[in-house]
């Protein structure tokens, strides 16, 4: 009797949305940066799993985000003084992702309510953390606006609305292009399933972006053995300088 009551309570407590869950996979979970690395394309795919019949209501939507490692940033603004343009004021942003893509199956405004966006931190507004910048410079808002403009322009940040293929409210796929100028780190992939702007289910995966081969070796040596690395650079310069001279001597003969 008590057990049955608990079970009933448990069922009631479960949100109705839990009847639809998301399963997803990535075409690759590692990206190796080698000398000829020229960007990479990642396929994020999956399906909606249902244990109940198709519920009524507005259609399901899928939102996919890929987020590169975050770093603090300094944004400087040039101002004119004594006829010369120079960096006068600066603002420090605590964290902003080095790379960010939001891809959706329908326009963002229809896929996600503002409250849900804020709760899950989906769009860039909630990923740029800039605490106390108003005290640092006049018109601090302009600095954040400039950061957004510059990063969107050089495609470090992208908003790709209606670019996720979502078939029969069940199967979805999204191709995300990673540019050649990647920095190392763990890239977080998130997939959100929404209905009527509310998040029904979401999951998270990681892609490890690492330098490999010669790139890895040079990077590690430069940091672990800086003096030897410096001497090796000089040796490289000396050998190349000598070899070119010797080579040209032979050519002139």
């Amino acid at each position: 009797m008590i057990r049955a009551a608990l079970l009933a309570l448990g069922l009631l407590a479960l949100p109705a949305a839990a009847s639809e869950t998301i399963v997803a996979g990535l075409s690759q979970s590692r990206v190796s940066i080698t000398a000829n690395f020229d960007g990479s394309e990642i396929l994020i795919y999956g399906a909606v799993k249902r244990d109940a019949p198709f519920p009524d209501g507005p259609p399901l939507q899928v939102i996919v985000t890929v987020e590169g490692p975050s770093t603090p940033l300094i944004i400087r603004r040039k101002e004119r003084s004594f006829g010369i343009w120079l960096n006068r004021s600066a603002v420090t942003i605590d964290r902003a992702p080095s790379f960010y893509v939001v891809a959706t199956s329908a326009p963002l405004a229809r896929s996600l309510t503002e409250t849900e966006n804020q709760r899950h931190g989906v769009t860039l507004d909630y990923l740029i953390r800039a605490v106390g910048i108003t005290a640092e410079a006049e018109g601090a808002g302009e600095f954040v606006e400039a950061l957004r403009r510059i990063r969107l322009n050089n495609e470090q940040w992208r908003v790709e609305e209606s670019r996720v293929l979502f078939t029969e409210q069940t199967l979805f796929r999204s191709d995300v292009v990673l540019p050649a100028n990647l920095i190392e780190g763990d890239y977080r992939v998130r997939v959100f399933l929404t209905r009527g702007g509310r998040v029904v289910d979401h999951l998270e995966r990681n892609i490890g972006v690492r330098k490999a081969g010669l790139e890895r070796f040079l990077f590690v040596t430069a940091h672990d053995q800086p003096f030897l690395y410096g001497l090796a650079s000089l040796l490289l310069a000396a050998v190349a300088g000598w070899a070119a001279n010797a080579g040209f001597k032979l050519l002139r003969r």
Partner: protein, 307 residues
């Protein structure tokens, strides 16, 4: 062909890097300047972060200078005693220059300070060389009695103590002026992050009275050590030497330096000087315009390294 640079963490076209190295190396071999004042702005232009551009540029200058010195050595156009005196002054000076640089960094105006130094020194030296070499060219063309050429003019410089013979330069002067010139160049090199060839070359010609042909090899000889020192200091202190980037710049640079040296041999002293003057002036004017004109983008983003 794109190539990913491990330290700079950007992907750039390998042929573009070979080309930049080649152009700078060519000028280096021809004029005896290291080319640091050219390579840093060029690397910045293609999107290499500033710290890495300065440090790796220095590494490239080492290679093209070695290649250039070897080419000059065959013609016995390197004055080693003079080179060592300049170098002794240069090490003292660059130590002082790095101190001044650190002080300006603490004040927060180092960018402006470096840019103003560029405009001031490049502009002044470029203009002086241009006027002098233009006069020399006009004099050479004008028909009439040949001007009596003296090896050099005696000035106060020649009355200082500690005299020394510099055979290759045909000079018998005190070691103090070359030491002072070396020190001054060292200070500027430390502040501006360049080898200082564009200051050293005219200083050797006009202040010390050395013949143009010996100046190039001797200047390159001194630059090897100054930039070599800079490279190691940057590698140890800030890990900003990108060997992959350096390799491509060097490959272009050493070939360019050899070709530049061959062309330089066919030109007259005053022709070489006027070309160098124009180059130096062009860079000075470009930097001055950057300071004076309203930039397209007022904002710049600098990522900070996580502790």
């Amino acid at each position: 062909m794109q190539i990913y640079l491990p330290i700079a963490e950007v992907s750039v076209n390998a042929f573009m890097l070979l080309g930049i190295g080649g152009i700078v190396g060519f000028l280096s071999g021809m004029f005896g300047v290291g080319g640091g004042f050219l390579i840093t702005p060029l690397l910045l232009f293609i999107g290499i972060p500033p710290g890495i551009a300065v440090a790796t540029g220095a590494n490239q200058v080492v290679a093209s200078s070695i290649s250039g010195v070897l080419a000059q050595l065959k013609r016995k156009a390197v004055d080693f005693p003079m080179g060592f005196v300049l170098l002794a002054g240069g090490i003292l000076g660059s130590w002082a220059g790095v101190r001044v640089f650190a002080w300006m960094t603490a004040l927060g105006q180092v960018d402006l300070f470096v840019q103003l130094s560029y405009v001031l020194f490049l502009g002044l030296i470029g203009a002086m060389m241009f006027v002098e070499s233009a006069r020399a060219m006009i004099r050479a063309r004008r028909p009439g009695p040949a001007v009596v050429r003296r090896a050099h003019v005696h000035t106060w410089v020649h009355r200082l103590p500690l005299k020394m013979k510099f055979r290759s330069s045909g000079l018998y002067i005190s070691v103090l002026p070359p030491f002072a010139v070396g020190a001054l160049v060292g200070v500027l090199a430390g502040i501006m992050g360049v080898g200082g060839g564009f200051i050293l070359v005219p200083a050797m010609i006009y202040i010390l009275g050395m013949p143009t042909k010996v100046v190039i090899g001797t200047s390159l000889f001194q630059i090897i050590f100054v930039t070599g020192f800079t490279t190691v200091v940057h590698a140890v202190n800030s890990h900003t030497v990108d060997m992959m980037l350096a390799l491509l710049l060097i490959l272009g640079g050493v070939v360019g330096a050899q070709m530049g040296a061959q062309i330089g041999l066919r030109l007259k002293g005053e022709q070489l000087r006027i070309l160098l003057a124009l180059l130096v002036l062009a860079v000075a004017i470009k930097i001055a315009f950057d300071l004076l004109l309203r930039p397209d983008e007022l904002f710049s983003i600098t990522p900070m390294v996580l502790p």
